[in-house]
């Protein structure tokens, strides 16, 4: 009886340790050779690929289910600004850059749980077709909780971490071959509440 209880305790402790370490490793990997960075953005080279290992497959399933292969779409994720500070809904950001070399692109803002942030404007993203560009050729998208005149994506009133997803549909072969060697929009923090 005492021995059975010991075995049960071992299984319980091992399951908590095993599953806990798995989620920790998946959500906060200390290193991952299949992710490449460009400024504040990072992309998984094996997203959607049948060549994915089990860790990459699980990571994509958690935070990017139904990803397409790299030649079809590149997904760049940003959890922090250009200085590496985590993106927060309580801060204001300016996403500034030129059109990436792809057939079509979009930048979408997500809340802590990777879903769209509710807002009265029903504005969650800007893309190649509807973003307004300044005379210098750059687009500037504003992520704030208070209204801006143009290119405004509301980040809501609820304080939370936010995430950005830059999608490049049919990226140029140059970018698809070297996703880390591309100039992507800067994410500049303008201030915090």
């Amino acid at each position: 009886m005492k021995s059975a209880l010991k075995y049960l305790c071992v299984v319980l402790i091992a399951s908590v340790l095993g599953a806990g370490s798995a989620f920790y490793w998946l959500l906060k990997p200390p290193f991952d050779p299949n992710w490449v960075r460009s400024g504040a953005w990072k992309t998984n080279l094996l997203a959607g690929s049948e060549q994915s290992g089990m860790y990459d497959r699980a990571r994509v399933a958690i935070a990017g289910l139904f990803a397409l292969k790299r030649s079809e779409t590149l997904y760049y994720i940003a959890d922090g600004d250009d200085r590496g500070e985590p993106l927060q809904s309580g801060c204001s950001y300016r996403v500034e850059g030129r059109d990436p070399d792809s057939r079509w692109w979009s930048i979408t803002v997500y809340g802590r749980t990777y879903f769209l942030i509710p807002n009265d404007q029903k504005r969650y993203s800007f893309n190649k077709n509807n973003v307004r560009r300044d005379p210098d050729g750059l687009f500037r998208i504003y992520l704030t909780s208070t209204p801006r005149e143009k290119n405004w994506i509301p980040t809501g009133r609820q304080p939370q971490k936010i995430h950005l997803n830059l999608r490049l549909y049919n990226p140029s072969p140059r970018i698809a071959d070297n996703p880390g060697d591309v100039e992507l929009p800067r994410i500049i923090r303008e201030g915090c509440r």
């Binding site: 071992v10 091992a14 399951s15 095993g18 798995a22 989620f23 399933a61 509807n130």
Partner: protein
């Protein structure tokens, strides 16, 4: 001392086992939950294409939805019969059909640039089975009997929503008898 080492080693070995099982089965578990949630929330059966309206913040089925696309979703099961997927070939918008296995792998994708005028018919069959009347159709072998087919139609202009919706609705998925 020896006894304690034995129990520690056993805990460690089992923890590694649970770690690997969690990582290996998580994608399948997430896919199963998403398929079930989709079927229930859309009130449809398997092998039925559902043309969804533009994504809003109310959508909580799949993480990181793209609000610039119209999605068409079909939870497939080709264990008994193959499926026929008819695609449109729009002229001026991005369009794609992607197929995902039950472990989340994207095993097939075709976009509008790869389609000839008039679209395409694709036959999705179970791995290891054959289809006797291929004709002009493309035969795609699903690595797993169940999974999800996702159509993406780009909303190029919010003022042209009715035309874009018409393109989306040209995706037809039927079970071959």
């Amino acid at each position: 001392m020896k006894n304690r080492l034995k129990w520690s080693m056993l805990t460690l070995v089992l923890a590694v086992f649970f770690h690997l099982v969690t990582v290996a089965f998580l994608p399948r578990a997430i896919m199963a939950v998403v398929s079930k949630k989709a079927l229930r929330s859309l009130n449809v059966s398997v092998n039925t294409a559902v043309h969804q309206p533009p994504v809003s913040a109310d959508q909580k089925t799949v993480v990181m939805p793209c609000p610039d696309l119209l999605y068409t979703l079909c939870v497939y099961d080709v264990s008994r019969r193959p499926l026929r997927i008819k695609t449109p070939a729009p002229d001026d918008t991005y369009f794609s059909i992607a197929m995902y296995a039950s472990n989340t792998d994207n095993f097939f994708v075709v976009n509008d640039r790869m389609l000839s005028r008039g679209g395409k018919e694709i036959i999705l069959i179970k791995k290891g089975s054959s289809y006797p009347h291929p004709g002009q159709d493309e035969i795609v072998e699903a690595p797993t009997s169940t999974g999800i087919i996702l159509g993406r139609t780009l909303i190029t202009d919010e003022n042209k929503m009715s035309e874009i919706t018409q393109i989306q609705h040209q995706i037809k998925i039927t079970q071959i008898q």
